[in-house]
Amino acid sequence: MAVLIAKWVVFVLVSLLAIASSVLMIYVKNTLHSALFMVMAFIASAILYLLLGCQFLAMLQIIVYAGAVMMLIIFVIMMISLKDEEKLARKITKTKVAGVVISILFMMLFILIMGFNSVKGKMGALTSIGDAKTIGSLLFTRFLLPFEVASVLLLAAMVGAVMLSKKKSFGGEDQ
């Protein structure tokens, strides 16, 4: 019982943190601060994974998203220092129409989600997807073909990225 209450308290606090940092990510003017709030949102969602018993997913979420991806984004932000861009403050037209349409769509989605009943039953081998062994064995048996296709696609994207960045610095010092 005490554990359940503790879990519930952590869930509420962390989800509030996730929502707050997501909102702040959009509203903060400073680009780097915005990126850091995104890191916070990622970490909060990793904690939510932990609450669901998905240790493996939680750790990967932090390593891949909060660690590697956001570090690259922050690296780029620091390198090109967007100070001049901030002053420009580009105007996007028809924001009010877009805002109304998006909020109506979101409300519909919200109502639909609230209407669903949660699935009842025990956690099986497939639902406890947080386990490294389960994920590994599934990837190499049942989902082998999609896994291989995805890896080839990622490799192609990587080679493409290298080619694109190589062309720009052609003739100059390659970094």
Binding site: V39, I63, M71, I74, M78
Partner: protein, 324 residues
């Protein structure tokens, strides 16, 4: 309830001892480096300079705490905290001894044993990197920004090779839990099966903690201390503590993964663990006195064009040997 109390006591004891080691690590480094460079090192405060870390701490505490006018104040304050907190959190999953019996309780000498212990180490270390990067950027100083950029690029590059270098060990042990990996090494240490992975790990780890010969983010000669250029007093001390704590943890992880952890004959487990970790820590100090700093492009070339293919080859060879 007993479990909760046990955990809290363990955390406090380990935290205290670990911070003590971190403090005396600074003295050890200055002493050994002094000997390497044919001088005495600190010897004024107390016998053999033994109270030097305490004097340093008091000095750092009472110095004026400056925040530059064009600094990003919140980030400037938070950055050293991130650095030191992440480094200390790393010690939480490392098993430093066998179970002992105390007052009728069986106590495992580790704070916790996660199923994904190795991934936890990488995740926490990657959060710790933000400390250095944000610290340099938030200073509002060009040297600081260049240091931060270098730190970010170097850590991303070497994190990859670091992760790949331990995969061989994971393959042999068949587990991500550090306790299981230590248990597997009861007879033969992993360094026997994975000698090259051990070397790769130590090289990547030195780069990961920004230590000579990879200390580009704080190269004094060109960047005037880089990311921590604007830091003074306790904030600087926190960065310093984070760096040394990370160094000790990296050596402790190497001990756990490659040198059999606390396993060893005659002596109790935690003593073996301390001895092995100390040998690696000593190596880190020794190589600082030996190697000159590499150039930045050399570091990048070495990381991407030599270390990464070699660690990948190590994984392939390990897999082939395991299957055949």
């Amino acid at each position: 309830m007993a479990l909760l109390i046990e955990s809290i006591v363990k955390v406090i004891v380990v935290f205290g001892i670990f911070l003590g080691f971190v403090a005396y690590m600074t003295l050890l480094e200055r002493k050994v480096l002094g000997r390497v460079q044919v001088r005495y090192g600190p010897n004024r405060v107390g016998p053999y300079g033994l109270w030097q870390p305490i004097a340093d701490g008091i000095k750092a505490f009472f110095k004026e705490d400056l925040i530059p006018a064009n600094a990003d104040k919140p980030l400037f304050v938070i950055a050293p905290m991130i650095s030191v907190a992440a480094a200390i959190c790393l010690i939480g999953v490392i098993p430093f001894g066998d179970k002992i019996t105390l007052f009728g309780h069986t106590i495992h000498l580790r704070i916790t044993d996660l199923d994904v212990g190795i991934l936890y180490l990488f995740a926490t270390a990657s959060i710790g990197e933000y400390g250095v990067v944000l610290g340099g950027w938030a200073s509002g100083n060009r040297y600081g920004v260049i240091g931060a950029l270098r730190a970010a690029a170097q850590m991303i590059s070497y994190e990859l090779a670091l992760g790949l270098s331990v995969i061989g060990v994971i393959m042999i042990s068949g587990s991500l839990s550090l306790s299981a990996i230590v248990a597997k090494q009861a007879h033969v240490w992993n360094v026997v099966y994975q000698p090259f992975a051990f070397i790769f790990y130590m090289v990547c780890a030195l780069a990961e903690i920004n230590r000579t010969p990879f200390d580009m983010p704080e190269a004094e000669a060109e960047l005037a201390c880089g990311y921590n250029i604007e830091y003074s007093s306790m904030k600087f001390a926190l960065f310093f503590m984070g760096e040394y704590a990370h160094l000790i943890v990296v050596c402790a992880v190497a001990t756990t993964l490659f040198l059999g952890g606390w396993q060893g004959p005659f002596l109790p487990g935690f003593l073996w663990f301390l001895i092995k970790t100390f040998v690696l820590v000593f190596f880190c100090i020794w190589e600082r006195g030996t190697f000159p700093r590499l150039r930045y492009d050399q570091i990048m070339h070495f990381g991407w064009k030599i270390l990464l293919p070699l660690t990948l080859a190590n994984i392939v060879v390990t897999a082939i040997v395991m299957v055949v």
